[in-house]
Amino acid sequence: MLGPLTFAAPFALAALVALPALWFLLRVTPPRPRRIDFPPLRIAADLAPRRETPARTPPWLLILRMLAAAALILAVAGPVWNPAGIGAAGGRNPLILLIDNGFSAAHDWRERLRVAIDAVEGAARDGRPVAILSLADPAAAAEARNPAAALERLRAIAPRPHLADRAAHLPAIGSVLERMPGAGIVWISDGVAGTGEGRFAPDLEALATKHGVDLAILKTDQPTLIAITGSEGGGRLTARVLRAAPNGRDTGLVRALDQKGLPLAEHDFAFAPNATEAEIVFDLPVELRNAIARLEIANERSAGAVALMDERGKRRRVGLVFGGTADQAQPLLAPTYYLAKALTPFADVQEPRGAKGTAESIGQMLDSQVSVLVLADVGALDEQTLGRVSTFVDGGGLLLRFAGARLAAGNDPLVPVRLRRGGRTLGGTLSWDSPKTLAPFAPESPFAGLAPPADIGVRRQILAEPDGELPSRTWASLQDGTPIVTAEKRGQGLVVLFHVTADTTWSNLPLSGLFIDMLRRVVGLAGSSAAPVAEGGPRPAAAVLAPRLTLDGFGALGSPPASAKAVSADYGDRATGEHPPGFYGPPDGGIAVNALRPDDRLKALDLASLKNARLGSLAGAETLDLRAHLFTLALMLLVLDTLAGLWLGGFLSRSTGGLLGRVGNRPAALLLAGLALLALAAPLPARAEEPAANRPNGFESALVTRLAYVITGDAAVDEASRAGLSGLTQMLASRTALEPGEPAGLDPARDELSFYPLIYWPIAPGRPQPSEAAIRRIDAFMRNGGTVLFDTRDALTSRPGDGPTPEAAYLRKMLATLEVPELEPVPIDHVLTKAFYLVETFPGRYATGQTWVEALPPAADGGERRPARAGDGVSPIIITGNDLAAAWAVGRRGEALYPVTGGDQRQREMAFRGGVNIVMYTLTGNYKADQVHVPALLERLGQ
């Protein structure tokens, strides 16, 4: 052994002795002399050479060949640098490899895997069978296999997102040792105590001692793990960064991400030099905090470095019910309006839809699983509703009530305190008092810390009957001591009553910022486990939630593995193999399971007490097999030698039959060789088809309004469409306020259509029908307000009596699966004829064709005949046969490209006017139909 260098077959080195012999052999066999083509030789062949110079191999070539030979001999000897160090000296005995693969090993997993592979490859060189046990996986019987199979198994092992339960594997290890006495054990440990820990290391040592086998433990000096736990309490989001032992990684960054993985907040953390725990607090607005789904340590790839946040700290669903009349003449003055405005920033506000009566509204709200039910001025409830609301409150719901005329009149058990009939009016015309303002909040009140502004005035309120329990139920009171907010805990829920209305009739409290803060505090108490008073949401206690998204060992969310099992809704433990960390249950209302419990702490394994185990380090044990490198070197030297021989023989010169010359004369071959090399060097990555919006077409079109035409594939038709729309674009820019961009050519199957208001579709009967996907996209385009202008261009060839022209047949076939509305020829009073110009027909290159649009609803009978009619929207389809684009088409110098047929001199002008009208119609819709009334309106105003 030469230090860390060993040879697998040292006897091969003896061949080095033969190198000097090779030296002499090579010296006397020079490379071939230079070959010269020389035609005049025929008349000079009899000239005998007069002088000879002896040829010798050049020394540099000799050295090159000797080096190649030496490299070859060394390579055959099989040199290995750093042959697997620890645990390798076991002769031919089996090797048992234990690997920690909990999330605690994920941080430096690659190094661990490399060490493990080195160990297995070392065993392969010695011909030892290998048994591999990954300690975080479920315990299973281990079997010794041949090293190649073991290597495959090893590469399939990935870190698990939970802590290892190592003790479960002890029986398996024991049974392997029974079967294979004399095996060596190598444990690649992460140094972190797992679950149910404590005894594994001593037990393993005892096991090893009992069977008299060698135990080696490879680990880093200090466990490198950093983990995080997060908890929400007291209105703050707290994250705790943990480590098992001081390991030098003292600072870092914790990032808070929302459901979509966008970062919302970042916070530095720093461990005190010998601390294993650091606490950081995210001080965020509630609405931001509610959006946080995940806390993670930046750049730490481990399931332990991720803390998932669930719905338990999220936005509450609030249902609003107003006891007043449903038909509000002035909705902006209704109490629900104030409440909705105040609640929306931090809660999900729901209001009943279409419910008749208060009872039905309340039922609807309870059906939609709100966690806070707000009743604004609701009086007495019927028996059934009362029962439901009581159940809701007992089950953990929060009932928030506001006073009002109806509540004051009724008698209602769902209030925290007994109320007096009627109200109290302050500062009214019949009162001596001035409006009262709020007293500072008591420290035990949930509103503690809020400062009531001085200008709040309560003019009217409902009074509570004096009672022994009244002070304890009072959350806020007026300056004179009368309670203004009272609350009572009922069952698991809470009933809160504001003794004023939610609108401004009794007080100006709803206008103040304090109102929002108070509501925020109140709603924050609902359904939150951390709330001081209330407990739990309206969730059934024993619901079973299926895994939705789970973390892998590296902390990436993905679909759950097959082994993941559902958890009950009150699961509060850390993740296990059966319940990997992740989100369980539906997106709203599910729970999150984390790799660590909020109160978990990490401990380092105590390995120092083991006496019979050898401890090794993970670093520096890299094994390097030098064979491949030496073979490569020898091969390259031989290639060099061949090239040198060719060069000396005159084969490498250019232009005269040499290798380079020959290659140079075949550019195609050269190109092919180059391409082959390129293909080897840079395999092209398979590229997903780019999204439609990224095509240059789409990007431009998102910024400017453009006309568009469908590219049919018939070059002449496409060119006419492009030129025609260019002409129309110029005409629009010069005559109207619309200045469209250059017209766009579209492939309806691939391009994004939603940017275009109008798509011109000339029918080219010779082309294949558009694909089904394209038809569906056109259908969607038409449904969403776009207009397609089909032009069959057959007005000249179609005869009324004959069958359909090829173009018309093509169009019919294409439209067969489209949802086309009922069509009619453009009526004389259609808004299309008045959108910009007053036109009657829409001629193009031909004037005889009919133009069809969506049929208008019939004109109202008896009413005054309006000059223009329009439907509700824009006709999604216009069909013409007049070849409009050809009439519009202009060349680069503005000259018309196609002649028009027909007697009217102004036909081209009329074609442009019709085109302008169509574009204006698609852009403005039925606006012009209303515009035609303007003179009449002005006339009426003038009276």
Partner: protein, 303 residues
């Protein structure tokens, strides 16, 4: 170190490049001079049509078929028009013909770094350009052993096609033995790298009837200078001879003497026959040799 190469058979056939270069070279030739000379000789020899039927190329007349004639002589296209059979007769033409021979053997494919032009390419350009110039001047030009003399306007293309089709010519080192007319002229373009004892009978045969001729010796600069040194294996592309030379520089001295002697012998031979010898090196422009040859042919014609 000078590199050398011998091009393969496919490269020794005239392609578009050669014909175009030949045409452009021919354009630059002073054809007016030649034409003037030629007019006088036309009178002397009766170059053009004899105004009666005989062997020729131009159409002369249709005459009725006479029983007993070979049926192959019937012009069926004309005869199909009516009931009688016709024979197409051509005008009897006898011209002062120029016979061209271009050596395309393997030794002609030789090229070295010093010239960049293979000898055969230069020979083809030169020969075809001469043919074009001569035809422009009213002369008839034929390929020795391949085509009859011809005054076609597209003589270059026609000859190039003939040459491409002539596989046997790729191995011929000497002009074919053909009997030429007394007033014909022969132009031989070759490197004449054959021993003199083989060249001599070939030339004498061609010149048998007093035919006059012009030899153009195309040479690569390397063949004159032999700029090699050191150990080398010399290889003859035609005869398959190879020679190991221990010290090429020393051998080169002897070689240069030998090639000078060979050329002197060739010059003597052509003088004996009353022919001319033009030496052309491929590193010189082709127009040099072309101009000299045109001048020589014209001078002979006048004389």
């Amino acid at each position: 170190m000078v590199a050398t190469r011998v091009s393969g058979p496919s490269e020794r056939a005239p392609g578009r490049r050669e014909t175009e270069r030949a045409l452009s070279l021919a354009e630059r030739m002073p054809r007016l001079v030649l034409e003037a000379r030629r007019v006088s000789s036309t009178l002397a020899h009766g170059l053009h049509g004899r105004r009666r039927a005989g062997p020729g190329e131009s159409f002369w007349q249709f005459r009725p078929f006479v029983t007993g004639e070979a049926a192959a002589r019937i012009d069926w296209r004309r005869s199909a028009r009516d009931d009688r059979l016709y024979v197409r007769e051509r005008e009897w033409e006898a011209a002062h013909n120029v016979w061209l021979w271009i050596d395309r053997s393997a030794s002609m494919g030789f090229v070295s770094d010093l010239s960049e032009t293979p000898k055969v390419e230069r020979a083809l350009v030169l020969g075809l350009a001469l043919a074009d110039t001569l035809v422009e001047g009213g002369e008839r030009v034929g390929l020795l052993g391949l085509t009859r003399p011809n005054a076609s306007r597209r003589i270059v293309e026609a000859m190039a096609q003939e040459i491409v089709g002539d596989e046997a010519g790729l191995a011929q080192d000497l002009p074919p033995r053909a009997a030429l007319g007394r007033f014909d002229e022969a132009i031989l373009v070759s490197d004449f790298l054959t021993p003199l004892r083989e060249i001599e009978p070939a030339l004498r045969t061609l010149a048998g009837h007093g035919t006059r001729g012009h030899c153009v010796l195309i040479a690569d600069p390397v063949e004159e200078t032999f700029p090699f040194a050191g150990q080398a294996v010399l290889q003859d592309p035609e005869a398959g001879i190879s020679l190991d030379v221990g010290d090429a520089a020393a051998w080169g001295e002897a070689y240069r003497e030998r090639i000078a002697a060979h050329r002197a012998g060739l010059l003597g031979l052509t003088r004996d026959l009353g022919w001319t010898l033009t030496l052309h090196r491929t590193d010189r422009p082709a127009s040099e040799a072309a101009l000299r040859l045109v001048t020589l042919v014209a001078a002979r014609g006048a004389g």
